[in-house]
Symmetry: D2
Subunit: 253 residues, 4 copies
């Protein structure tokens, strides 16, 4: 049974800040958001966690291996270097969506995302990493370059990928409580509970039927997201070489 | 009639680079991608253009106001500071998707995105900015904080936004040749041809029917994306205060 | 006669901010400072200017080619993305130190660097670039790798370079009103008035006598710092190949 | 007795890279260097170490608390995200300069800084942190704002600070084997062995006589550079309030 630790990262009172005293330059907001995400990705990633940009003003991270002290330090360092601050809620559960539900509740319990008085909430539970706590599924599109990138204009390629992602994210959440994130190119990374090969094939077929895009997936397990994720990447390489649709990493399970 | 200038930015041979000699740490890739986008957003944005992250390995920018020399400099500066290089294709057309089609063709004509020999393509046409060349529509979700962010877990909020975006992007492209980009939070920015208030209302109703999410939109015009976009933001503020669904900026038209 | 345009960039009320409410983590301050400088270097540099980190809380830029609008935009963009704001003063004079004197006066006239009420000063004069307005001298140390880097521990190498820099900066300022900046490695870039070969040789001999370090120098002229500086770099390459101590770039003068 | 762990960070074959195939834009080099330093400062700093930019192509870090795995990860992550790679040598000794000597030797033993074949050296010894292993002295200038920043042009202020730094760095290295780094503003941070109050007063008087600049200093001890450094900052605040020249932090010793 997996035990992913999910962290919900929310910029405090961000919406109002972007338009007060008047709307700020959009490209400055884009720069701020993507650099903030990059800093979180480095902080979390160099401790073997995974962070996802999600909506940018709200981000999701899988943080098995990061304890409360790490979260405090991340929060302090962002507060020292950005014009905004962040709140962090963390929870652990075998089902990823349940863990995130617990994480979000810690933040919501302290006040609204647009409450001026609510700043730098830090709450939750943390779990020392153990083998098999995290499972990561790494999906990509079969021959995206040949079918889309080299043939369609960039937006029409993007629409294909985006429709596939919208379909997959909804299916995986509803059927399995899994959290799926587009990570660029034709890649989607899912934080998943234990799932069978048949269940992955059903997900792939759902997207094929629903959005007309053919996916394949590599699945890994590990004590941390990086461990599970790097195994998933290797498994996905196996799919590529063998022409298969689902591969599980070795016997790390 | 609008005359948007679109630039397609493609990282050269990126897919293979991410897995050779073996898969690289995902959070390093995320950091690299989002910082590259941030740098492009600053370069383009400080010249009054707009850049969108799209798939990260392929980005789209609206570059009215940037000429060939600017594009050369952007390409050279990225080559000097990143382990990867980028190709740039640019074109102008009254319909945004047609402009992007022309831009992508410049890049595709030189070789595949995964061609090892194809590096730093630079091609296209550039247009000195004139009043009304660019129209930007800035959409957001009605009361996203109250309906979603403060009530649902972060992933379920995100799914709502993402489904609305997937619906809007497809509709706007098919009905109007417009290019719509999620820019974080509950915001979508569209590069649009001239559209009527009725056409915007139809788009909003389409998303309401299709994804169950209620949008509003501010529309601006200008010689550059920043000029059009800041007007669109002000128009969207007008929607917020007046409770309207579509507002056009003053009489800049 | 050269006409360098100098900009003094001062972080508003930075010293107190670093210790209030209590001292902030030093590495967060280092990160903030060096990224702020990097952003300014990109903004100014992509408009063919040069920026130097100097004391980090106070920076100096040579900005021929950047007008008031550019300075306003730089100031606004920093204010949008950092927890601090900056004041900018600009002036033009044939002698670099006089130009900087005028630039600093614009900032000082509005209040102290630690005045809580003084924010985002913007004042000065701007000059459209003309041929020969800027002269840049690029110094480096003869065989720094062989004599120091590969033989001494890093700090003892650094001491040699630093003593040479301290000697050169003082001499060039006192004898010629030139502004010299350490730019990393064994490199010093000077913003200079017109100087003869004999004057450069005297400077080099002064440092040899005073600090025991042997320098060489390439000198360039141009309408902008980048133009002058890239010529200076090529001239310095000529020194390297020909074993000479002073080289002037072609006949760009 | 202190036991600082010093790491020498050297960019591999950087000098030649900056001019091949021809000299690169100086502001791109400045951006690359300062962002690389910022990333290292974040990586090391968030593990309670201290990093200094030194010559930028060669940096020095105090890394008590970072083991070999941390150093490997830093090296891998830089290799994944920059167009250059770094070599790292680490050593421990009661005297800081001796520790750095050992660190540099690890790198030099593998080849020249400009050896094309030498890449990503990683060698050295690592020490689990213990109380009192690190001592940090934080110097600043008495009333630098009132005496210099608000009265002189920025370069003449900078010259004063720089001459004081050049004097202090040399004195502290020769008299005590301490390593002193300018960290911006009017601040110098020294990695020191155990020193008495009388020895600090002598250092301050040396700089007063030699460079005409009046310093004060706070001194801290701790298991890591951050612990020692934050205590030093508090001690320096005590100097400010009490008008003293040397303060030692509480009884953390």
């Amino acid at each position: 049974m997996t035990r992913p630790q999910l962290t919900h990262i929310q910029i405090d009172n961000y919406g109002p800040w972007t338009v007060e005293p008047e709307p700020r330059r959009e490209m400055d907001l884009q720069t701020l958001q993507s650099r903030l995400f990059a800093d979180i990705a480095q902080f979390v990633g160099s401790r073997d966690g995974y962070a996802f940009f999600t909506r940018f003003d709200n981000m999701v991270a899988v943080t098995n291996g990061l304890d409360r002290t790490d979260h405090e330090l991340l929060q302090e360092s962002i507060g020292n270097r950005y014009p905004i601050s962040v709140s962090l809620g963390t929870a652990v559960d075998p089902v990823p969506i349940e863990a995130l539900e617990g994480a979000t509740e810690r933040v919501q319990a302290a006040g609204s995302a647009q409450d001026r008085a609510r700043r730098e909430v830090l709450g939750g539970e943390y779990r020392p990493p153990e083998a098999g706590d995290v499972s990561i599924a790494h999906f990509d599109v079969n021959d995206a370059t040949g079918k889309y990138t080299d043939r369609l204009n960039e937006f029409d390629s993007f629409i294909r990928i985006e429709q596939a992602y919208a379909s997959l994210m909804r299916y995986m959440r509803e059927a399995h409580g899994a959290l799926s994130f587009f990570v660029g190119g034709d890649n989607v990374i899912s934080v998943v509970p234990e799932m069978t090969e048949a269940e992955y094939l059903e997900a792939i077929e759902h997207v094929s039927d629903d959005a007309g895009v053919e996916l394949k997936v590599g699945v890994g397990f590990g004590p941390t997201p990086h461990d599970a994720g790097i195994d998933a990447k290797h498994a996905l390489e196996d799919c590529r070489y063998d022409g298969t649709r689902v591969e599980f990493a070795g016997d790390e399970h």
